[in-house]
Symmetry: C2
Subunit: 411 residues, 2 copies
């Protein structure tokens, strides 16, 4: 086991690592005239690993990304992202439009077409507004800059309220290494193998197969552990680029720690910005046989409408937490259950404990004091026995506002 | 195949079949002073079949019911139901209280204690208010009457807005046969092997094993096909009593039709009365290989928060329906998808069709004109290929009101 290194935050987001460039602008794809088109450019010799939605109904762009990563063995240089139209369920036109866009970007960058990927997000069933998009390719490529991370992070958003980006830095074997990331997602968030859209950059060369394995593990411990509304999207995509000098092999474990930290930060940011959410919910489960079992229970609790509404109502209705655990599909002994909401222990050895309801409710109320403050996280901890399995999941509360946002989205 | 018989509605609910008695009264278990205690009495020689929640965390009463049905080989005579406290997660006290209550009822009726079952519904983690309950056993037994179905149907409710009962009658082999039913449930509704609470009575003698099989099939096509909020309860229970003269064997298929109709009516009533719901959603899926696959997809669509909010917003945002189908865990070809909302076809062979958005939205709006009218059902039909599998599921929309009801339930 390598001793842990310290990963410290730095500015720059997805373009913080050496050699990465990005851009974001208003192409006019959305009625709101907000930034809606972005481009990320990786340095020469980059490798890219991707994880994608497990939905049977996948957007054309997802098929394209998965195919090109396979054809090129991960030797991909750029990814363009349009927001406003998901380009899912758009029939034959969907793939044709994706091909045209990536061809146009590849031509302008001087790459072969299969070195460019595309991600799309927005309304399902609506084709991409091709004319404004194609007209914006030239200015988009011209705008590529080593400090373009913030502009790109803004241009991938849809119903998100805030940008989601991060960059971390550490010294690995005496060398400065950076990992950057950006993501978007606020509704239709219950990723399975990937999030709505997430991107990661790293200025270290890692062999493609090894990189894919590291990325998959990091995604399972981050994006695959969040839920906003239980709806896995048609477009879920996570793309991670690595390019630079290689690291000594004994530093790879520390690098993976950094990957996981960046991915977890982005995943938590998505849950925290869940549609209509007023707080982040973090559920820790321990004492199962397997890590996957603990994570499955944690995610079921995070996804329970009844737990989510109770948290929203600042109501320590803990029975709903145990009920959600019970239906997660994992066997455990109800006699071994212990439960905490924040510092308040509510159950021990399967028996309810007397607790200060007003104080527990106050704990929940304090978490709602604002977005993105250190203390806006509701902590729920469930212990189920003596097993060594532990897992964590993140979600958010369910508010009236979620219903309003989603009842009125296309009309 | 027996020719279908005509099952006609009759009054009387759970006590419509010959020999059944019921009662319901206010014992004072709930602060609201609404009816909260009921009793159902089956005729001598009745057999009872039960299906129960699959949750790992089961209320004490569920364990008691399952045990006694096994010990007595289904020879059970009565079931008492308290509403207000679910008696789940109440530690050792939970079982002790259930035993005391059933003993008191059995003593008063002159039965052995294991011939009486108990169902509980209400807040999880709160013990039953024993003193008022035990004081009410005498008046409860005294109130048993052959026309007590309506009183019992009322006393099992919690957040339900309306009673859910039905009785059907048919001539089977020249003999008048009746089936009655009642149910409760409005939140924490995503039954797995049973509903929140459902009861059925039938004035025909059926061998216990056969009866259990018939009931299980009927439950799969009814209670196990509804969802309100995806939360399987700790207390889900369905109990079905059969008592009377036996039927000729060639009439059993027609009897099972009646069982299924009664169970489906009750299940639909629960979905229609989903917390905060303004309409019933019925999703029909066809063209899969297996019936179970079609049902799984239908139920996933019914349970999607995004589909539910779109229906609530009267928004024909059909992409969410296809997206939900895609994540249901059943493989199908996206190229074969055809989709209808009411009379409006929105997709054919995987391609979106032009459609009159205003008319489709008006179709959805018209469904909201009132509860329990003939036309408050939103019909969604999805065809996925050439398979013979078809399945149906029922749910409801997701409204701001659902959030308010559940954010404020215990505090």
């Amino acid at each position: 086991m390598t001793p842990s290194v310290t990963w410290a935050p730095v500015s720059g987001g997805i373009t913080a690592p050496t050699g990465f460039k990005a851009a974001g602008l208003i192409a006019g794809l959305k009625p709101s005239r907000k930034p809606d088109l972005s481009l990320l450019l990786a340095p020469e010799a980059a490798v890219c690993a991707g994880t994608f939605t497990t939905s049977v109904v996948r957007a054309a762009c997802v098929d394209l990304c998965a195919d090109r990563l396979q054809v090129t063995s991960g030797r991909v240089r750029a990814v363009v992202t349009n927001s406003g139209q998901a380009n899912a369920c758009t029939g034959d036109r969907g793939l044709a439009d994706s091909l045209r866009i990536t061809q146009a970007v590849a031509d302008r960058l001087g790459f072969s077409h299969d070195q460019v990927l595309i991600c799309s997000t927005g309304v399902i069933g609506v084709p991409i507004a091709m004319e404004p998009l194609l007209a914006a390719v030239d200015p988009l490529v011209d705008a590529l800059a080593p400090d373009g991370g913030a502009a790109a992070a803004q241009a991938i958003l849809t119903t998100d309220l805030v940008e989601k980006e991060i960059a971390l830095e550490a010294l690995l074997g005496g060398r400065r290494v950076r990992i950057g990331g950006m993501a978007k997602g606020s509704g239709m968030i219950h990723p399975n193998m990937a999030t709505m859209l997430g991107y990661l950059s790293c200025d270290v060369a890692v062999p493609c197969d090894l990189w894919q394995d590291m990325v998959r593990r990091a995604v399972n411990r981050s994006f695959n552990s969040i839920t906003v509304d239980g709806d896995t999207s048609t477009n879920d995509t996570f793309l991670a680029f690595a390019a630079g000098e290689p690291l000594p092999e004994d530093q790879l474990e520390a690098l993976e720690e950094g990957l996981t930290l960046v991915a977890q930060h982005l995943a938590r940011s998505i849950a925290r910005d869940g549609e209509g959410a007023t707080c982040l919910t973090e559920v820790q489960v321990e004492g199962t046989d397997l890590e996957t079992e603990a994570r499955q229970i944690a995610r079921t609790i995070c996804g329970s409408s009844l737990v989510k509404t109770a948290v929203h109502g600042r109501d320590p209705n803990w029975g709903r937490i145990v009920a959600a655990a019970g239906r997660a599909g994992v066997a455990f002994s109800a006699d071994a259950v212990a439960l905490w909401i924040g510092p308040h222990q509510l159950m021990s050895e399967g028996q309810p404990l007397p607790f200060d309801r007003a104080a527990a409710s106050a704990y929940l109320s304090e978490r709602a004091c604002g977005r993105y403050l250190v203390d806006d996280t509701v902590q729920i901890r469930l212990s189920l026995g003596d097993g060594t399995g532990q897992g964590i999941a993140w979600g958010c509360d369910l508010s009236d506002q979620y219903v309003r946002i989603n009842a009125d989205y296309t009309t």
